[in-house]
């Protein structure tokens, strides 16, 4: 059986700029696939080519073994980064309009429940809050009971509470066996939701795998954090970096590192140990902060 979505040597040039520069990957059915990368890395261009919105300069995209076509448009649900809707119509009317566009549809009641739309169902779409708007756009993406759902930075600009609510919605979609393609700025989001990720920079893939496998592969160490004020005048000879008021010490052997610190007379009262995150991985791979 061919992979659910198969991408081979995809290239997209814009007036001489290589936005996407020869990438290949496969997405399996029922998985949540994440594309990570800084602004300008080529995430949105890539995802728009997968959605059939943007034509590749060269390379191929196969959906269940066939080029993107009529069947794909019927079976794909898409949530763009920014979408304007028809003004002056309500959430309910918007959903009804999209239902009439597709041959197969999710019942309205199911959409209302799964995306928690009850409280603003009859409100003009221009008068929604950020979180409400994202929930409605998700409902539109689900209106055709899609096999695959594309979410392009769905929680950018939401407050933490709204973001957490949105993650729960995505989890419940995952549980129903849908395939999800997600781009995001937020490593925590990718870590929580994605089964597989690729990290892109300058139009190329620089890392690929499950989040945990990627971390294990790139980082043997854990991070010890101590308040900078707890250190004596001279620092011990250890691999260290400053992070705000904290000193971060990288360690692959926790016991010996702690012994060294006690020998130097460093107080361990404020010690915290954390695992390396995708954020660290990103910094290590690209030398850049992700969220800039």
């Amino acid at each position: 059986m061919p992979p659910f979505l198969q991408v081979d040597n995809l290239i997209r040039h814009y007036q001489g700029v290589k936005a996407v520069d020869g990438i290949s990957f496969a997405i399996e059915r029922g998985r949540c696939f994440g594309l990570l990368g800084p602004n300008g890395a080529g995430k949105t261009t890539t995802v728009e080519m997968l959605e059939g919105i943007n034509e590749p300069t060269s390379g191929s995209i196969l959906y269940q073994g066939r080029p993107l076509g009529r069947r794909f448009r019927d079976e794909a649900g898409i949530m763009f980064q920014t979408t304007a809707l028809q003004d002056y119509i309500t959430v309910r009317e918007t959903l009804e309009m999209f239902q009439q566009i597709y041959p197969r549809t999710t019942p309205l009641q199911e959409l209302i429940e799964s995306c928690s739309l009850e409280e603003f169902l009859d409100r003009d779409t221009r008068k929604l809050s950020g979180g409400q708007r994202q929930r409605m756009l998700l409902a539109i993406a689900l209106v055709n009971d899609p096999e695959v759902i594309f979410l392009d930075e769905p929680t950018t600009g939401l407050d933490p509470q709204a973001r957490r609510n949105f993650w729960e919605l995505v989890q419940s979609i995952k549980q129903r066996g849908k395939t999800i393609v997600l781009t995001t700025h937020y490593m925590e989001e990718a870590y929580r939701l994605c089964d597989d990720i690729i990290i892109m920079d300058h139009g190329r893939i620089i890392a690929q795998g499950t989040p945990d496998a990627l971390l294990a592969k790139h980082f043997a160490e854990v991070v010890l954090q101590l308040p900078a004020t707890d250190f004596p005048a001279s620092y011990p000879e250890l691999e260290m970096q400053m992070s705000g008021d904290l000193v971060e010490i990288l360690s692959s052997d926790l016991n010996s590192t702690i012994n060294r610190l006690t020998e130097q007379g460093v107080s361990l009262a404020g010690l915290r140990i954390r695992q390396r995150t995708l954020e660290d991985l990103f910094l290590a791979l690209t030398g850049r902060e992700l969220r800039t």
């Binding site: 898409i78 763009f80 979408t83 028809q86 002056y88 119509i89 309009m97 041959p103």
Partner: protein, 332 residues
């Protein structure tokens, strides 16, 4: 082409139009205000001057009549057209020195006075009486105002709106669905056509209740002219909107098209007597053909056969605009 998808898009667009109170009010109130304003402004005692049409004399000798002050003499070449103007009170009198004839309208007080003056100064003219109701400026203006409203609503309601949809990403959203460009565009056209015709009909009948327009032709013929005109102007709007993504540029272009039409297509004043070059230029403007056709129906009682050159011109322009628009249309 799926009729269901076409209907879905069209219904949403109709709702948007009827619920956008500000734009809706503008569509109704603007033409009513203009028509009402001109009806009041031109309802006074008429011009200070008497207007007399005069055909070229064979001898160079002038009539004593022509020496009277406060009469404006207008040279006339087409006698039958001038007689029609007397019937409509656009000329108070018409004199033909060559044939020693004069024409006046029996229901015109000015004609009565001028007849007395002429008989006092030059004897021997034969009296030819015509009849006919006067045409007020508003009778003449109504076709122009309705057509102008049609033009603005068609150009901006389709052209500008599609550019806005493209800029704000709504077209991109629809491109990601099974909706085709043809379904989307025809939904916009039919929605706007239906709205334009219903708004025009309402404005017409509301103002008619008060002003009682001269309407000698058939309402069906008038509807045909306005429908063809609306389709033509909507197509022009589509042409402008085919691939622009800047609202400012689209707005500028739409203004650059609509303003010359407003002045050269005879909305406010007749182009008779202006530079022939301008009259020729006006022929390439769709609005000219809508207004000429509608005026001929309302004022002269013309039928569709009488105005076929105008109808043909509108249909040819529509075909050209649509062809180019379809070739150049882009979702993004």
């Amino acid at each position: 082409m799926s009729f269901r998808r076409f209907l879905a898009i069209m219904r949403a667009r109709n709702k948007e139009f009827w619920r956008d109170r500000a734009a809706l009010a503008w569509n109704f109130i603007f033409p009513i205000m203009v028509i009402g304003g001109f009806a009041v402004a031109f309802s006074g005692d008429g011009p200070d001057l008497y207007k007399v049409g005069i055909t070229a004399a064979q001898s160079s000798q002038n009539l004593h009549f022509e020496e009277i002050k406060y009469i404006q003499f207008i040279p006339v070449t087409d006698l039958s057209a001038a007689i029609t103007k007397v019937e409509r009170h656009q000329l108070d009198m018409l004199i033909s020195p060559a044939t020693q004839q004069f024409w006046i309208n029996d229901s015109s007080p000015a004609g009565y006075l001028l007849e007395r003056l002429l008989n006092g100064s030059d004897a021997g003219f034969k009296r030819e009486a015509v009849t006919g109701e006067g045409i007020r400026y508003v009778d003449w203006l109504i076709s122009g105002i309705l057509a102008m409203n049609l033009m603005f609503s068609a150009l901006f309601g389709v052209g500008f709106v599609i550019v806005r949809y493209r800029k704000n990403g709504m077209l991109k959203r629809l491109k990601a669905t099974p909706v085709t460009a043809f379904e989307f565009i025809s939904a916009q056209v039919v929605s706007r056509l239906w709205l334009l015709l219903s708004v025009s009909a309402l404005v017409f009948f509301l103002t008619d209740l008060v002003l009682d327009f001269r309407m000698y032709g058939s309402y069906f013929d008038l509807l045909i002219v306005f429908a063809l005109g609306a389709i033509c102007l909507i197509s022009l709007g589509l042409l402008i909107a085919a691939r622009l993504a800047s609202e400012e540029l689209a707005g500028g272009l739409l203004n650059a098209i609509s303003w010359p039409m407003m002045f050269l297509s005879g909305v406010w004043f007749s182009l008779e007597g202006v530079n022939p070059w301008l009259v020729k230029l006006a022929q390439i403007l769709p609005l000219t053909h809508v207004i000429d056709g509608a005026r001929a129906i309302m004022i002269d009682g013309a039928g569709l056969m009488d105005i076929w050159p105008n109808l043909m011109a509108l249909m040819v322009m529509t075909a050209v605009f649509l062809l180019i628009a379809a070739r150049t249309f882009r979702w993004e």
